[in-house]
Symmetry: C2
Subunit: 198 residues, 2 copies
DNA sequence: GTATATCCGTAATTCACGTTACGGATCGTG
DNA sequence: CACGATCCGTAACGTGAATTACGGATATAC
């Protein structure tokens, strides 16, 4: 199988894995279930991913790369820092509380090795932090925000923007946010942030 | 077995369940594992709790009762509203991000029926809200805080106080907070809250 | 075209778990 | 004390999942 063809096949398999994961949760997701959904064989899955943990590791890592890429694309702009945050806000809410992210968080919650949690966190908060750091430093340079500790300023922003939505999503008490929800949440976070740090 | 003796025995069994749950996660917790830890038999567990879900339902419900009781005790005071919030803050952080709460959140995340999540949410956020509502209304009456929407004010407080700590705890990326952590987190939340709503 | 590698669909193996069952010990009641 | 209920420790049963194996089909490389 040629490389590009294999890549395409892997994407199909991983899309199938997400379908099963989102429908049945981590505990209800079996390798055979994924194989069936993807019209692949167990042998191929094990050959390509090693074991169940390896498949999930790959899902998380791939998701990480996509999230990071997506956010970096959003930073390719000459807008002022606050405008960038206003644009990023709804997207961050959607990325961090969408069905896929929640399914992955559930998998990580069930993973007693801590490995998926580590990777997921590196793809989530820990990947977002340095990107936001650049924006916050710019906001300070532009005189739009005032803070001593960049990390604390970013953490405040994430508290206001995301808060406890994720855990409430993970335990099944909050539905996926609508675009309006995301916009409203982001708007509110920006208002509070500016009031606190301006 | 007399009632008080049975109650004691149940507490022992439930303590053992928490030990296994916290050590091995929900997926790694078996009824037999709990029975062994509690030096009880499977038959007794099944007789008393019905099935595995029933045991976990009981854990969550019991925890709910204790959390609610604990918080209500904290409200038996003539202090002004902000002082009450200052006292409650660290306790809320500890209750919502302690090892037991996190273990229960993990169980709820793994429960595809949504039942544990529902009960857990009713014992957590949804139980805390009405208690905090009384305090926030008092703060407004006393002229300490200004807001139109009580729910939104409480949600803001919880965002600032708890933020995304829970999910980070659940996926294994944040250790249990120290008393200093709790105090610091609460202090900061109060500062921000007053700045926003005073 | 041929040979080899790989994939699919399915079966087989092993293990663990949820749940029930059982014999003996212990407890509670009359 | 005797009897019945219940608990403990252990075994048994059925099911499902992780993983490996296999025969035939398909794809790739020479």
């Amino acid at each position: 199988m040629r490389d590009d063809k294999r890549t395409l096949r892997q994407q199909q398999i991983e899309a199938a894995a997400y379908q099963v994961l989102e429908a049945k949760g981590y505990g209800g997701t079996s390798m055979l279930g994924i194989a069936r959904q993807a019209k692949a064989s167990n042998e191929t899955l094990y050959n390509w991913y090693g074991d169940k943990q390896g498949l999930f590791r790959a899902l998380v890592a791939r998701n990480a790369e996509e999230v990071k890429q997506h956010l970096e694309d959003q930073l390719q702009t000459d807008s002022d820092a606050l405008t960038i945050l206003e644009t990023l806000g709804p997207k961050l809410v959607r990325l961090l509380t969408g069905d896929r992210a929640i399914a992955l968080n559930r998998a990580a919650a069930a993973d007693s090795t801590g490995e998926l949690g580590a990777t997921l966190s590196q793809s989530g908060r820990e990947a977002i932090f340095p990107l936001l750091e650049a924006v916050f430093l710019r906001a300070r340079t532009e005189g739009q925000l005032t803070f001593d500790d960049t990390g604390a300023a970013i953490a405040l922003f994430l508290d206001l923007l995301i808060g406890d939505q994720q855990i409430r999503r993970v335990i099944g008490r909050l539905p996926e946010p609508t675009p309006d929800d995301c916009n409203h949440r982001a708007r509110r976070a920006m208002d509070h942030l500016c009031k606190l740090l301006r």
